[in-house]
Structures are given as structure tokens and as C-alpha cells.
Amino acid sequence: MNSEENKKPVLELKDIKKSFGDNHVLKGFNLTLHEGENLVIMGKSGSGKSVMVKCIVGLIQPDSGSIRIKDQDIITMGQKELDFLRTEIGYLFQGSALYDSMTVRENLEFPLRRHKDKIENFQGTEASVHEALKSVGLLDAIDRMPAELSGGMQRRVALARALILKPKIIMYDEPTTGLDPITANEIIQLMRSIQKEYNTSSLIITHDVDCARVISNRMILLVDGINYAEGTFEELSNSSDPQTRAFFKN
């Protein structure tokens, strides 16, 4: 914990509030993600986890509060700067969100069309696509359509696409939801190896206790739109608070 605190924060959320009509989803949520850290956010369905992540990448505008990525406030940022900053963030969507009219190759080439200049030592589009697919073990699927892939394979291709611009931060929105335990475990191991290989900071939203145990350095429980509890997996799973413990019951 202390070693994490010594590291530089790459992402900071302060007092984020977001409502949809009378539905107050986030009521002052705070978060700090440090360099190289795996931070897991857990919460019940509908507790606002996905809304929070969408606020971070600028897909949803929060009502108030500040979001700083690498010391830049994204709320006051112009569209061009935001588009450029987004290349620093990889996002793995809950349903993979692969472009279904494109092949795996075209899916991976898509983010490179505009932002390949941003990659250090860029070796060419083909080499980048091969490297990203190799890191998720799916080089063979390069010319297949997303519909021809299994759920686990789609999730891996989506991860390769999230990695293609070599982002510093990766957001995982329910990375293991809808997968069988074996495939889910493969995805978790893949997330660990990617974190080592690319030295990324990760923000992981999950319900999966196994995933949280294996991957988290730190956890935040999001309840009723606020940080209900915060700590390591061991601290939270052994908490005396019944509501906190309820998250860890299988």
C-alpha cells in the first residue's frame, strides 16, 4: 500500500457526481490510480461502476467534480486534446464491442489510422497488429470476422485492440462476465501478463471475486454512489462490516 502511494498518480477522480433525472448514480466518488497499479472497483449491478468508467474516458459528462489523467483535466479539455489523450487509455468493453463489419485485422488497424505517430518506435501497421495479436495468443485469427470467434476469443481480440496504441492505462469493464471459469481464468492470466509486459496501470470493474483476488493491488467498494470501503483484497474480505463481507461470499 505504501509503495503504491509513493508512485505517481496517473488518474485522479475527485468528488464525481452524476445523475440521470432523479436517479443519483454517483454522489461524490473519489479515486486515485497509481502508476503500475491494478485497482479493482466492485459494486452491485446498477451501482454506477460503468457510468464512472465512461466519465473517465469522456463518453459521459459528470455533473460536477474533476477527472485528471496524467495531470490534465479531461472535463475542461477540447475535443482534439481529448481524442489525443484517449490514445493513452485502452478500454476493454463488457461485450467486447468489436466492429462486426470488419475482420480482426481491420479491428486492430482502426485505432492506428489516426494515431500511429503517437507510438514510439512504430514498426508499421502490420507489425503492430501482429505484435498485439501475438500478445493475446490469437495470431491465427487475424483474417477472421468477429462473429466467427468464441466469446473468450472476442474478449482477447478486444484486449489486443485496446493494447495496440500501447496505452499507459487500461480500463477493464467486467472482463470475465459471461465467460466459463476456464476461459475467465485465461483472461485473468492474460491481464496479468499484459500488465507486466506493457507496464500499464489498470482499472478493473468486476463482480468476479476470483478475478479481484488474483489481480488487485487495491480495491474500492462502490455502494450508493460513494466509496464505501477501500483496501487490499485481504483487508476487505476479512472486514467485520457485513455489507463489505457480502461482496466476497460465493
Binding site: D83, F93, D100
Partner: protein, 260 residues
């Protein structure tokens, strides 16, 4: 909610949607002239829309010419006016029936396709994924598609008109023994610039309407598969209505212009 309220709400939401669509159209023109331009996607869409509608337009155009001539022939024969057939058919097809029928066919084929495609991309978060990867989805998906239909529809209408005249010529040749040379000589004698030009110009507006409504409905699609179905369906309904309104305005303006 009581019935009068729900009726009022419907009217309110209808006008709200019209306003929203006007903003959507405004954004299209803003993004159309700002960099970066998505030329590759525009060409791909032009090819898709043009090529995939080709067969439908040819079949529809041919049957249109065939049936229209078969139906009109007995009436004109009664008055001994068969010789007016090529002029009458060509003017009707080029000025009115061809553009409207082909545009309606394309509203069903292209408009609903755009609505369903963009709608399902919205529902499956593909549009969000595009935005997160630093690409402007409005420019990539909406601007290219509206522009592609606007450019392709006039070509499809010209093709449809030509095929309809071929269909009509075949009937005239078989039923009336009119040679193809004589038929097309009469067709080109009857058609003037003032017939062809306004009819072609209005097809650009038809194309714009098909693209605008299809992309608007898809882009603002509600979550879930029902939303995709509704986006696709309402794209066709709204566009068909809009096509007749545009047609009325176009005919009205042309009439004023040529009587001046």
C-alpha cells in the same frame, strides 16, 4: 397518464425530434467541411450503396416502364393517341414517377439498412469503442453515409429511368410495332432541359433525406434489439413521408421558377 396528455406528449416529442434532427443536420454540415476527411469510408459506402441497390433499381425500373406502358396504352388507343405514348411515358417517368419510386425503393433498402447498422453499433457499444479509440464516430459513420446516399441516389435514379424507358420501348415494340429508333427519337424530342434538370436536382435532396433520417434514427437508437428494429422501421416511415414533402416543394418551386 390520461389520453389527451399522451396525445399532447406525442405532439411535443414529434416537434422535439424534428428540432433534434435539424441540429443533427447542422452538425453534418459542420463536420462535412472539417478535417480529417474519411475518403476511404466514403468510397466504400458509395460502392456498397450503389452496387447493392443496382439489381433492385434495375428490376423495379424495368417493371415500372413495362406496367406503366401496358396500363396507359388502352386509354390512349381509345382516343387515337398512341403516337403520344413515348412522350407521355418519358415525361411521366423522368419528371415524377422514376425519381419518387426509385427514392422510395432506396429508402427501404438503404435507409433501413443504415438505421439498423448504426443502431446495432450503438447498442453493442461499437460507437463508444470508436470514440474511445480517438476517432470521431459522427464523421466516420454519419457524414460518410449521408454524403454517399446523396451522391449515389441521382445516379441510381438516372439508371432506373433509363431501364424504365427500355421496358416501355419493349412493350411499344411488341404491342404497337413501334421501332426502338422511333421510340427513343420521340423520347429525346419530348424531354427538355427543364424536365431533366429539376428532376435530377430533387434526387440529391431525396438522397440527403434518406441518409439523414437513417443515420439520425440509428445514431439515437434506444438500447436493446427492440430499439434497433424501431430505428430501422421508423427510418423508412419518416423518410417516405419526407420524400413526398420534398417532392411537393420541388414541384412547387419548379413551377414558380418556370412560369416566371
Amino acid at each position: 397518464m390520461s389520453k389527451p396528455n399522451s396525445f399532447l406528449d406525442r405532439i411535443k416529442s414529434f416537434f422535439a425530434e424534428i428540432g433534434d434532427m435539424a441540429f443533427f443536420a447542422g452538425r453534418f454540415f459542420r463536420e462535412l467541411f472539417s478535417k480529417p476527411f474519411e475518403f476511404r469510408e466514403l468510397l466504400r459506402q458509395c460502392y456498397n450503396m450503389g452496387n447493392r441497390s443496382l439489381f433492385l433499381v434495375i428490376v423495379t425500373g424495368f417493371i415500372l416502364g413495362l406496367v406503366f406502358t401496358l396500363q396507359s396504352r388502352p386509354t390512349l388507343t381509345q382516343f387515337g393517341a398512341e403516337s403520344w405514348m413515348p412522350s407521355m411515358i418519358s415525361l411521366s417517368i423522368v419528371r415524377e414517377i422514376g425519381p419518387v419510386i426509385i427514392a422510395l425503393i432506396c429508402a427501404g433498402r438503404i435507409g433501413s439498412g443504415i438505421g439498423a447498422e448504426i443502431g446495432s453499433m450503438r447498442v453493442t457499444e461499437q460507437i463508444d469503442a470508436m470514440e474511445v479509440s480517438g476517432t470521431n464516430p459522427f464523421k466516420y459513420l454519419v457524414v460518410t453515409r449521408i454524403l454517399a446516399v446523396t451522391l449515389m441516389l441521382p445516379l441510381l435514379v438516372i439508371l432506373g429511368d433509363a431501364v424504365a424507358l427500355v421496358g416501355s420501348a419493349i412493350v411499344e415494340n411488341l404491342k404497337g410495332g413501334v421501332s426502338y429508333t422511333l421510340y427513343f427519337n420521340q423520347v429525346f424530342d419530348a424531354l427538355k432541359f427543364s424536365d431533366v434538370f429539376p428532376a435530377t436536382v430533387k434526387t440529391f435532396f431525396f438522397g440527403f433525406a434518406i441518409g439523414l433520417v437513417g443515420t439520425y434514427k440509428g445514431y439515437n437508437c434506444a438500447k436493446g434489439t427492440v430499439g434497433v428494429g424501431e430505428a430501422s422501421n421508423s427510418a423508412v416511415v419518416y423518410t417516405s413521408m419526407l420524400l413526398f414533402i420534398i417532392d411537393f416543394i420541388a414541384v412547387f418551386v419548379t413551377d414558380i421558377f418556370y412560369t416566371l
